[in-house]
């Protein structure tokens, strides 16, 4: 076995895994707050990438601003989705709400196709430096950006939920909506924030991924599936699980493509998901499956 090839596959896997982890975190944010699986999460990533490209190539903004601006815009999209589509359905069955997110996903994809057409657009790498050599493999600097941004985002979210008043209130709402409500916390408002944050995390993933995988209107679907896989693997609602699940899916996909066949790379990830679901339906890191319904 050639070591340099293995290192290369692992690096690729970790990079992809970091993106899947961010998607899984996005799923968790909405799920923890509302119990909804938001199938429009992939479209948040797509919008992040497309908007970054638009800011850079069409509006000629500096690259750093082009990467940051979409975060705010997609947060607004997330909040708007909650206010206009999810909140009016708050008395509906959970399945209805999940179907609504499927509808939103299709609608956002359609809107993107109308706005940007079916083309892929390039975004330059964040750092204009040569690949770094590591154990015979070469590390694309943008991969380091992906890993770093994912790590910073995860840390920032953890600190936000642990130490800020709004973060604590969101956590309280997710665990005990009724008790949070009786403490004067506006549950609907916190749910809106969950959607906004999910949008923001999606946009971050989209912008940092754009120089590696050129964004087009339809990149969201497959990303969402992998991210969903990662979230379920790690245990839905569990952010440490999201990281673990994301890395697992990314590595399996990359190693599978390298050593077995690139044609099977998706199949391998889903196969592992099936096995985990049979053996450990609550996910790798969750202790129980039960969600607190108070």
């Amino acid at each position: 076995m050639e070591w340099s090839a293995l290192v290369q596959y692992v690096l690729t896997g970790i990079t992809q895994g970091a993106i899947y982890a961010l998607l899984a975190v996005g799923f968790n944010l909405v799920y923890s707050a509302t119990g909804i699986i938001n199938f429009a999460q992939g479209e948040f990533v797509m919008l992040g990438g497309m908007l970054a490209v638009t800011c850079y190539s069409f509006l000629h903004l500096p690259l750093w601003l082009s990467a940051i601006l979409p975060i705010g815009v997609v947060m607004l999209v997330g909040a708007g989705i909650h206010q206009l589509a999810i909140r009016p359905l708050r008395h509906a069955h959970l399945v209805t709400l999940i179907m609504a997110t499927v509808g939103l996903s299709v609608a956002l994809r359609g809107l993107a196709k109308v706005l940007w057409g079916a083309d892929s657009y390039p975004l330059p790498a964040f750092s204009n430096v040569d690949p770094v050599a590591l154990a015979g493999a070469s590390v694309d600097p943008q991969s380091l950006w992906v890993m770093g941004v994912a790590a910073v985002t995860g840390t920032a979210l953890t600190l936000f939920f642990r130490y800020s008043l709004t973060g604590r209130a969101m956590t309280a709402c997710a665990a005990r909506p009724l008790a949070a409500c009786l403490a004067g916390i506006r549950v609907e408002r916190m749910n809106m924030w969950a959607f906004a944050l999910a949008g923001g995390v999606g946009a971050i993933a989209g912008a940092v991924l754009a120089p590696i995988a050129l964004p087009s209107f339809d990149v969201g679907t497959s990303l969402a599936l992998k991210g969903f896989c990662a979230a379920i693997l790690g245990g839905i609602g569990n952010n440490a699980g999201a990281l673990l699940g994301g890395l697992l899916v990314g590595l399996l996909e990359s190693l599978g493509a390298g050593y077995i066949s690139s044609g099977y790379k998706d199949a391998i990830a889903f196969l592992v998901l099936l096995i985990v679901l049979v053996l450990r339906p609550q996910g790798l890191l969750n202790v129980t499956m039960r969600r607190d319904e108070s």
Partner: protein, 248 residues
């Protein structure tokens, strides 16, 4: 006695779940400084009444006034802001957060309003009031015993500095000694000026610390009066105090 005299006044309120009328015109009132017990069997409408006061359920009729002001159309958080806080049945502490975070979230609206110092002082007072919580203030609330969790739920509610404290079954599932300790604390809170509306499955214990009581049956107030009158009432004794016909 004028309407403004009452701290809380419910005037023939009606609440429906779909087509089921859970409250069929409930009227009751609390004066400032009172402990009032709400007594009744399961399904009589006690918890529904409390939910309606806190703005969790819409009224189909009647009116709720707090300090002479109608609560119609107010959101639950606005009602908390006015000074009504409820300790829900089953405690509902935030199990995955430490004790101090539970307490601080009780003062959520005050923290939002920037009263950080006052909240920090109240947190200390609460830890004085419940010394067991001070010992365990960094423990995850889910790891507390049932009695400790009830004290935490009570402390969390008090962090909002309520004028009216509503307690739904505060002693359910607790050992008798802990239960009487909780009720003793409730009586002490009244001494400090908090008005209390108490729903309690232990009718005898609740009427012993309450000034007045209301008996609720199938969505209606069927009996009301001073606690000692209710304790002497034969129907109350038979239905809620477990006395046989021969005994009363």
């Amino acid at each position: 006695m004028t309407a403004a005299h009452f701290l809380l006044r419910l005037q023939s309120i009606r609440v429906c779940y779909d087509h089921l009328e859970a409250l069929k015109g409930v009227s009751l009132h609390l004066e400032a400084g009172e402990i009032v017990a709400l007594v009744g069997a399961n399904g009589a409408g006690k918890t529904t009444t409390l939910a309606a006061i806190c703005g969790l359920l819409p009224l189909r009729g009647g009116e709720i006034q707090f300090q002479g002001r109608s609560l119609a159309g107010l959101r639950p958080d606005q009602i908390v802001q006015l000074g009504i806080t409820q300790v829900p049945e089953g405690r509902m502490i935030f199990a995955e957060m430490p004790v101090v975070d539970n307490l601080r979230l009780g003062a959520y609206l005050r923290l939002r309003a920037g009263q950080r110092r006052a909240v920090a002082e109240d947190l200390e007072r609460m830890l004085d009031l419940f010394p067991i919580l001070r010992e365990r203030k960094h423990v995850l609330a889910g790891n507390l015993s049932g009695g400790e969790q009830q004290m935490l739920a009570l402390g969390r509610a008090l962090m909002a500095r309520p004028r009216l404290l509503i307690l739904d079954e505060p002693t359910i599932g607790l050992a008798p000694r802990l239960a009487s300790q909780i009720l003793h604390t409730v009586a002490e809170l009244r001494e400090q000026g908090t008005t209390i509306l108490l729903v309690e499955q232990n009718v005898l214990a609740s009427l012993q610390i309450a000034d007045r009581g209301y008996v609720l049956e199938t969505g209606r107030v069927v009996l009301q009066g001073l606690s000692e009158e209710l304790l002497r009432n034969r129907d109350v004794q038979r239905a809620y105090l477990g006395k046989d016909y021969e005994e009363v």
